[in-house]
Symmetry: C2
Subunit: 429 residues, 2 copies
Amino acid sequence: MKKLNTSPISGMQELLPREQAAFDRYKNEIQEVFRQHGFLNIETPTIERAEILFAKAGGETEKQIYRVVKTEEASEGADEALRFDHTVPLARYVVEHENDLTFPFKVTQGGRNFRGERAQRGRFREFYQFDIDVIGREKLAAAYDAEVILTLSEAYDRLGLSGKLIRVSNRKILTGLLEELNLQEVAGEVFRVIDRAEKVTPEKTREALEKLEIGTEKIETVLAFIEIAGARTAVMKRLREFGFGNEKFLEGVAELEEVLEILETQGIAEAVQADMKIVRGLDYYTGTVFETILPEHREVGSIGGGGRYENLVGLYSDRVMPGVGGSIGLTRLFFVMRELGMIKEQSEAPVELAIVPCSEAENEFCFQLAKKLRADGSNVDLVLSEKKLGDKLKYAATVAKAGIVIGENEVRGGEILVKDFTTGEKRPL
Amino acid sequence: MKKLNTSPISGMQELLPREQAAFDRYKNEIQEVFRQHGFLNIETPTIERAEILFAKAGGETEKQIYRVVKTEEASEGADEALRFDHTVPLARYVVEHENDLTFPFKVTQGGRNFRGERAQRGRFREFYQFDIDVIGREKLAAAYDAEVILTLSEAYDRLGLSGKLIRVSNRKILTGLLEELNLQEVAGEVFRVIDRAEKVTPEKTREALEKLEIGTEKIETVLAFIEIAGARTAVMKRLREFGFGNEKFLEGVAELEEVLEILETQGIAEAVQADMKIVRGLDYYTGTVFETILPEHREVGSIGGGGRYENLVGLYSDRVMPGVGGSIGLTRLFFVMRELGMIKEQSEAPVELAIVPCSEAENEFCFQLAKKLRADGSNVDLVLSEKKLGDKLKYAATVAKAGIVIGENEVRGGEILVKDFTTGEKRPL
């Protein structure tokens, strides 16, 4: 009988050991790709001063921040909260440690972030994010935008998501368009409508634009514009056909072309598409923006994204530090992959080899044998339960891929056999 | 100029990238040893229902629990808090998922826990702990106590702490002694005095016992008893000389002997000592107890410990599940090792190789080269800054162990040279 409710609280991922093994493998793959690309790992605390988090949060996010209060000193007034992403703590870190860092600072962070979202299937209040960022001082070459996208692309491939599509745009293009149309004053609203365009019907998008009272002609231009998507050359041709002389627009087009060209030469052209619908609306991006989807499962939406920001640290320092970064939200991605049946490892026994002593008399020998096999890198369980041999073997076959039984004969130097629990075959150790 | 206070809040570890690389290596070493010993990794949420945590906390710990409150719905009344250790969430996990687990359940957890301690140098409010536990149903062989200690011992060795000393006792021995002395009623107080004995002078310990008004003779017996420490045979001889017929006492002595014998046969006798001063007072242990110290640095105190508990899940279920576990508090250990100058990696450049294009014209070639070298497992940075070659080389020499410069000649097929930044030597790629 349970005395207390022992389920994890809603919105928290809690996995069984075999699922966890798959999740851990994914974590490792992502981190290994990031490491190979020369990103340096850092960790910032889970708890930050609330003023640091609120300075950047705004809107929905602000309402979702978890504050923390010490039980003993609830009245002491330290205003602290749980981080909701890695970017805000990174900005603080970069300002705090600027003199000890080398720029461009190629940095990665992986860990749990927290948002008090409404409980909903597939929505997580605690979730793993794996971020990469390149932070410059004053300037940062556009080629780094491509390097970030390439790195994330490779990480997705390692997770078995080679069918993914990375959709890329540049905020300056849309900003330039709105300048051309003299719509600067409603730019925020238009961005928001475009950001939602994929989640609603085309009629809804048109209605939302009509509410802004910008006139039919401009509405048609915006609607036509956001339909532009495809391979580099085709998209570049269409963008240039607008004939805009707007500086922002041309800058955005040139940057987008540079990024796409690098991605092409690196052989991931078929996984990349320019797409004017991508704005990543509520974030602080100012140049390149991108997000990744699974084209065969568009219903799950974005499985990660990122972009370039003119200045990471404006709220914390007078310095100007441009950056480009991206993130993989692994908790949500893992949930999606499980739903889609894309995770195979769950059926595998987690331990390579179980050593089963027939009785306690063989314990010492088994400890020695385990030590030897572990020293060779194997993952070995030692079944020390004081149970019947049959029960011990049953346990071994559940946790391990193969097993060894050690009795008097083996201790005296008899041949040791390894039984493969899947095939039933035996082979000498 | 800084606009906000950008230091991490007190009691939080925040490392520079090179220190972080050392910390990460330690994390990996510990987790790899645990994996090789067949412990299955799980993760429980950082946030738990407060009632789950408070059911087990008690005393000092209870006052240190961080509660979390959603900004938006502070009044909604969900009473949630941050976990302060891994054992309480593990108890909940085992009850919740009992039917999906195989017992004995060999489990490991690694991650951040939280205690709102008073800020103090070397005390952390957020800290990494790496735990292993073996949980049985109804029964659990004493040999698992030895397996847990062996596993932790190996983890310490991998961290370069081969000079450590693991001090082992068994709570039943001291409990038996107090029964013999008819001191059951003050057992809790005596345990607490013994637990503090090493942090205060012998006079203070005597005074603390005198306050319990148990009579001089019993005080002398307790004081003499807790001085018993040393190798297995010597300690066993002294314990048996007391001639106690007390069942608990004899059970404790027998269990301690069995555990020490296994550790001896596994060749770690010189790193292990029986020591009657070890009680791990405030915890819920009932049998074997142990803690690890650095004998050359006794002033830093325990760097980890653990023990056996008769029932892990008593507060959450009517089931009886005995367990044995131990933990390495890596944040504190890392702090101590830095203080003692035991961490070497900090001086090493974190990236293996930096590729430096002379100009943007070589970017494409460099991206290709990086891809090839990364595919071989190397950790390669690509220096894409639009700076002078000299500045790019300076950056490369800071972040990487070696570097390659790519100019027109190399792109046209000329020999590519790798420069070792430490020795200054060049070799062909």
